[in-house]
């Protein structure tokens, strides 16, 4: 894959800049990486905490050659790629929380958001690398590779590993389809089977026990009233 890396100092959001490149028809693989984001984009306009010089904040334009209705599986592939890259670059072994939170020690160390626009996927990945601490409102849910491992890590080495790893998983997905991605995800995630969770749904929180992935990659949840298929929404552990 062509890999053009556009490096920025401080930006509002790498997602916005990458979307601009995509709209201009940039080649797949184009990367926007920033040292700091002042308005890092999360789901539904939420912010991704992007402290200067400590994290890896990037968006990559992808144009996978797969049928359109299979594109959501890319988010699972990106979680796998991010977990692998973190393990290789830092030695930290992460869990994957469906669909694509990357978790270490029960807290989120990387977040992934994918937007489909102008017929391109814009994959945003934020990794908490060398953060020493987090603002109070995030302290209970966020962690960094430094906090988990007790030492600092090279963000450039992590970026190299990450782009290599994304490339590998995207090629696997294009060549072999959904099945191997789902199998690898189920093997890498403790959340796919038998985990008591609550799922944030537009109608409210839904509690249940996870019960595997369906062939599309959606999450089965056994609830008090029956088996529900979760197609979107954040999953949280509950005791």
């Amino acid at each position: 894959m062509t890999r053009r890396i556009h490096r920025y100092g401080t930006v509002d959001s790498t997602m916005r800049i990458a979307a601009g490149y995509a709209a201009l028809g940039c080649p797949p693989g184009t990367v926007v990486v920033a040292n700091e984001q002042t308005a890092g984009t999360g789901r539904f306009g939420r912010r991704w905490h992007s402290e200067k010089g400590t994290g890896l904040y990037l968006s990559q334009v992808l144009r996978p050659d797969v049928p359109g209705d299979r594109l959501p599986v890319v988010t699972l592939a990106l979680a796998l790629a991010t977990g692998d890259a973190i393990a290789r670059a830092s030695g930290v072994i992460c869990d994957l929380r469906w669909p694509n939170d990357v978790v270490a020690g029960g807290r989120k160390c990387a977040g992934i958001l994918v937007q489909l626009q102008d017929r391109a996927l814009i994959a945003g990945i934020g990794i908490n690398v060398n953060h020493a601490a987090f603002p109070e409102e995030l302290a209970g849910s966020a962690t960094s590779l430094r906090i988990v491992s007790g030492r600092e890590h090279s963000r450039d080495a992590l970026l190299d590993e990450l782009l290599e790893s994304i490339d590998t998983y995207m090629r696997l997905f294009e060549a072999e389809g959904t099945e191997p991605i789902l199998r690898l995800f189920a093997a890498a995630s403790s959340y796919v089977q038998g985990r008591r969770v609550v799922v944030e749904q537009p109608q409210g929180m839904l509690a249940g026990v996870t019960d595997g992935l369906d062939p599309v990659g959606f999450l089965w949840l056994r609830t008090e009233t029956g088996r529900e298929l979760i197609v979107s929404g954040g999953v949280r552990p509950c005791s």
Binding site: R43, G45, N100, V114, L116, Q117
Partner: protein, 155 residues
């Protein structure tokens, strides 16, 4: 001509893309007219479940539904449908105004809604200039592949 033969003719008409097919065999004559003109197939068409009446419905209802589909096809009404299974959101964030409301003028490329599937946020854009006639899905509801989301009268 039996039901199986008529079904076969309907299939032929659909596959060939003709708008109308008339077949005479002896004294039997059958005319098949597709509700959606082939030219409109370039655009989005309403999903099957929105068009086809339930099997147990009365013929009058079926005729009315076909008539309705026909009228809308003639009146340049296009349906924007979901390209994936997911959750429908009418606005970019909870509490913020909807991307579009009924009666709004829209232009090609304008975002109409978001369908989220496993944290893939799929911005659904209008392919045409026109007016939003109906919003067919309630905010936060799950949508199926191919489900109609908006009716837009193209201008």
């Amino acid at each position: 001509m039996n039901a199986e033969e008529i079904r076969e003719l309907i299939r032929l008409a659909q596959e060939s893309g003709v708008a109308e097919l008339e077949v005479q065999r002896g004294e039997n004559r059958v005319r098949i007219r597709l509700a959606v003109a082939p030219a409109a197939l370039d655009f989005v068409v309403p999903p099957l479940q929105a068009q086809a009446p339930p099997l147990n419905s009365q013929p009058t209802q079926a005729a009315a539904a076909a008539k309705q589909a026909e009228v809308e096809a003639e009146a340049n009404v296009l349906y924007v449908k979901s390209p994936i299974v997911g959750t429908y959101y009418e606005s970019p964030a909870p509490g913020s105004p909807a991307f579009v409301k009924v009666g709004d003028q829209v232009s090609p490329g304008q975002v109409l809604c978001i369908i989220e599937s496993m944290k893939l946020m799929n911005e659904i854009e209008s392919e045409v200039s026109g007016v939003v006639l109906r919003k067919l899905v309630e905010n936060g509801r799950p949508v199926e592949y191919g489900e109609a989301l908006f009716a837009i009268r193209a201008s």
